[in-house]
């Protein structure tokens, strides 16, 4: 056995990982859906302007909507057919958003952008950023921030490390694991383009040590590149949090209110890296993504390649449907994922998983009074005092919330997870963050 030096951060929690349901299942293509729904707002920043209208015939890969704004990534058709509507639909992030609906029809042959197929060294950083933007690539780990924006290093800053996040610390999810096993070379290839785009000298891939096969696969894929290192990190939640991963791998603290680039780092998810490679080598826009569908409430948990815009009901069907009575359908993992009311919501660029918990698994929680046990303080990877933040948020003490650094909360859920009084700590902290943000906005608007 080889002893690995295991990188880690302080605090955090150890939830049951439950990855065994799907970690051995190869990524499979799901059957072609009859209809797809592409929301025009998938991330913070500008909403996109549609460039197609009802009754238009579109090809697979064709541009559907774009924006002049810098903080925006275009969306493309993941299905050839007819645009049936441009209307508001329920969004997986809550609320309703404008979306393009397409009904399947005609030749499903993909339309690829023309690419020079050049090696990273033969391209300028700007050319790579342009290609990434055109392909509509955003972060695929969850937040869906446009990748080309992350890669644009502001004047006066420089990036020395490009980190690929292969931690996959969310329980149940296995898609990043499968990508690393099955598409390790693509991930390393994407990393090389990302390094070139940011002019980073060193590439780092961080993987939790519960995935030794992925560590091995990426080490061999990266073996020929001297400036790419694959490192094991401790299996601990939230190891895949950007700030935790940077702390673990480089022992650098991202400043409060700052970004990784303030400490010379850009972090991208493994799926994003693979998508970057596909866009630069093959000219493929981001129109499909692999995801995990899993949980005790699913008959055949697995990993599937899914066209973006596919209603989650179709993915559930492809995985054998519900096992027993479904209680919760969650997009993402159990720690940070969002519970859904409708099965009509589409898979979007950041949908890394669909988790179905059965009704029997759900427990009713009746919060007891806080007894100051400090388990939340001992769990918080951001060194906050969640119990205090909860009270301050309830009392709308905005100045105090800021003093206690509420905006530094990454909403990882570790505090709520360990709370013996079962208090909804993160929930109130989110409320507090929203109140502080709203006040900042109104102050800016008023001046």
């Amino acid at each position: 056995m080889i002893l690995l030096s295991v990188a880690t951060f302080k605090k955090g929690v150890h939830p049951p990982y439950n990855k065994q349901y799907s970690s051995n299942k190869e990524i499979q293509q799901i059957p072609q859906p009859d209809e797809i729904i592409i929301p025009l707002q998938q991330h913070i920043g500008a909403s996109l302007e549609p460039v197609v209208k009802r009754k238009d015939q579109v090809r697979r890969g064709q541009l559907l909507a774009d924006s002049d704004s810098f903080v925006a990534a275009p969306v493309h058709a993941s299905l050839a057919g007819e645009v049936t509507a441009v209307e508001k639909v329920p969004s997986p992030q809550g609320g309703r958003v404008l979306a393009v609906k397409i009904k399947a029809g005609g030749d499903q042959q993909e339309e690829l952008a023309e690419v020079p197929g050049k090696e990273p060294e033969e391209l300028s950083p700007e050319e790579i950023r342009q290609a990434v933007r055109q392909a509509g690539i955003t972060g695929m780990g969850g937040a869906m921030f446009p990748t080309h924006v992350k890669l644009a290093v502001p004047e006066g800053k420089s990036i020395d490390h490009l980190i690929i996040n292969g931690a996959e610390c969310e329980p149940y999810l296995t898609v990043d694991h499968r990508i690393m096993l099955e598409r390790g070379e693509q991930v390393v290839d994407g990393l090389r383009y990302l390094m070139r785009a940011t002019e980073a000298e060193q590439g780092l891939i961080g993987i939790e040590d519960n995935k030794p096969d992925a560590l091995k696969a990426l080490k061999s894929a990266a073996a020929e590149f001297d400036n790419i290192e694959v490192r094991a990190t401790e299996t601990k939640y939230p190891q895949g949090g950007e700030k935790m991963l940077i702390k673990a791998l480089l022992d650098r603290d991202v400043p409060v209110g700052g970004l990784p680039l303030d400490v010379g780092v850009v972090v991208n998810n493994v799926a994003t890296a693979a998508a970057v490679s596909a866009s630069l080598r093959e000219g493929r826009p981001l129109i499909d993504r692999p995801l995990t569908i899993t949980g005790e409430g699913i008959n055949n948990p697995g990993n599937f390649e899914v066209p973006l815009g596919t209603p989650i009901a179709e993915v559930i069907k492809a995985a054998g449907g519900f096992a027993g009575e479904p209680g919760k359908v969650i997009l993402g993992g159990p720690m940070m994922g969002q519970a859904q009311t409708s099965l009509d919501v589409p898979v979007v660029k950041g949908t890394s998983g669909i988790l179905v918990l059965t009704r029997n698994q759900l427990e009713e929680y009746s919060p007891a009074p806080c007894i100051n046990c400090a388990r939340c303080v001992d769990a918080c990877p951001m060194y906050l005092v969640p119990a205090r933040l909860e009270k301050l948020a309830q009392q709308e003490e905005l100045d105090k919330l800021e003093e206690y650094q509420v905006m530094n909360c990454i909403e990882c859920g570790s505090c709520s997870y360990v709370c013996p009084a079962q208090r909804p700590l993160v929930h109130y902290i989110r409320v507090g963050k929203a109140a502080v943000t709203a006040r900042k906005k109104s102050e800016q608007g008023g001046s």
Binding site: K328, M335, A368, P369, C370, V377, Q422, V426
Partner: protein, 303 residues
């Protein structure tokens, strides 16, 4: 696909199993050896005191919760914790009616008037004990051992300058309150709580280290001061009451050190031979300000 009624709550969707009740009952279980030792050393009378204290605390809690129109949460075990901790501060010859009064005061004035579990600033058991110390000063300082009136090790030290052998202190073959006899059994119970993660080790570490170093510096016997009186019981069980102690890591150190300083001041220069109760109650008062000034620096926060 038909859309069933799905449950929607905000994340996280996973919770650890630990509950407040589990923490409280584990504390109770960890005190069983100490209670058994008390009944071995002082006879069945010790069990009677413990029973009266638990029943009176629970009854008071029940009446107040009903009167306040609150859900009756006796099963959370917190009133039983107070009952046991109060009983362990009592001398074996105390009349049972005094125990009952102390229990009513502990729960009513120590806990419920502040809004019940989680809201009380002072350790309720120590409030009950402090009341008895003020109201029945003779009864609370009458120590018996083997049916005879006897002086506690700290009394002997204060009055006669006599030091009780360490081994007797460690094993518990000495006069004293119900819970302050055996250092060994207290450490055993505390070890269980530390193992389960239900005990803030920083507080006893700070408190015991402070008492050891200060008494040593002052030219006294530090080992005697560690083992005698209610210091170990106080440091591991009363000074670590979650509700009434700081929530921040540095705050817990400060709380322990502060309590240790008060113990030494009272023991060496005060009118009482023992000062653990008052030192903890005094430090309880400082918890809000300690919490405020020991807020951890958040990751990436400068200065």
């Amino acid at each position: 696909m038909q859309s069933q009624e799905l449950v929607v709550t905000s994340s996280p969707h996973l919770r650890e199993e630990t509950s407040v009740a589990e923490i409280m009952w584990t504390v109770n279980i960890s005190l069983v050896p100490v209670m058994l030792a008390a009944s071995y050393v002082f006879g069945l009378r010790a069990l009677a005191i413990i029973a009266v204290s638990i029943i009176s605390c629970s009854l008071t809690e029940y009446i107040f919760l009903r009167a306040r129109n609150k859900e009756v949460t006796l099963t959370d075990g917190s009133a039983v914790v107070t009952g046991i901790l109060l009983a362990l501060t009592m001398p074996p010859a105390i009349p049972l009616w005094v125990v009952a009064i102390a229990a009513v005061v502990a729960i009513a004035l120590g806990k419920q008037v502040f809004g019940g579990l989680g809201n009380n600033p002072f350790n309720p058991a120590l409030i009950g004990r402090a009341f008895v110390t003020a109201a029945y000063p003779v009864l609370i300082t009458t120590w018996t051992f083997d049916g005879q009136t006897a002086a506690t090790p700290l009394n002997l030290k204060m009055m006669e300058g006599e030091i009780t052998p360490y081994w007797d202190l460690f094993i518990g073959n000495i006069p004293g309150s119900l819970g302050e006899t055996s250092a060994f059994l207290i450490l055993l119970g505390a070890a269980l709580l530390i193992y389960k993660g239900y005990l803030n080790w920083r507080i006893p570490a700070g408190m015991l280290t402070t008492v050891f170093l200060l008494t040593w510096l002052m030219g006294h016997d530090p080992v005697f001061h560690l083992l005698a009186g209610s210091l170990l019981l106080g440091a591991f069980y009363y000074a670590t009451d979650m509700v009434t102690t700081p929530i921040t890591p540095r705050g817990r150190w400060l709380f322990g050190v502060g309590a240790g300083v008060f113990v030494v001041i009272i023991r060496l220069w005060g009118g009482y031979p023992e000062g653990v109760m008052y030192s903890i109650l005094l430090m309880n008062m400082t918890v809000p300000i300690i919490n405020r000034f020991t807020r951890p620096r958040s990751l990436g926060e400068v200065n």
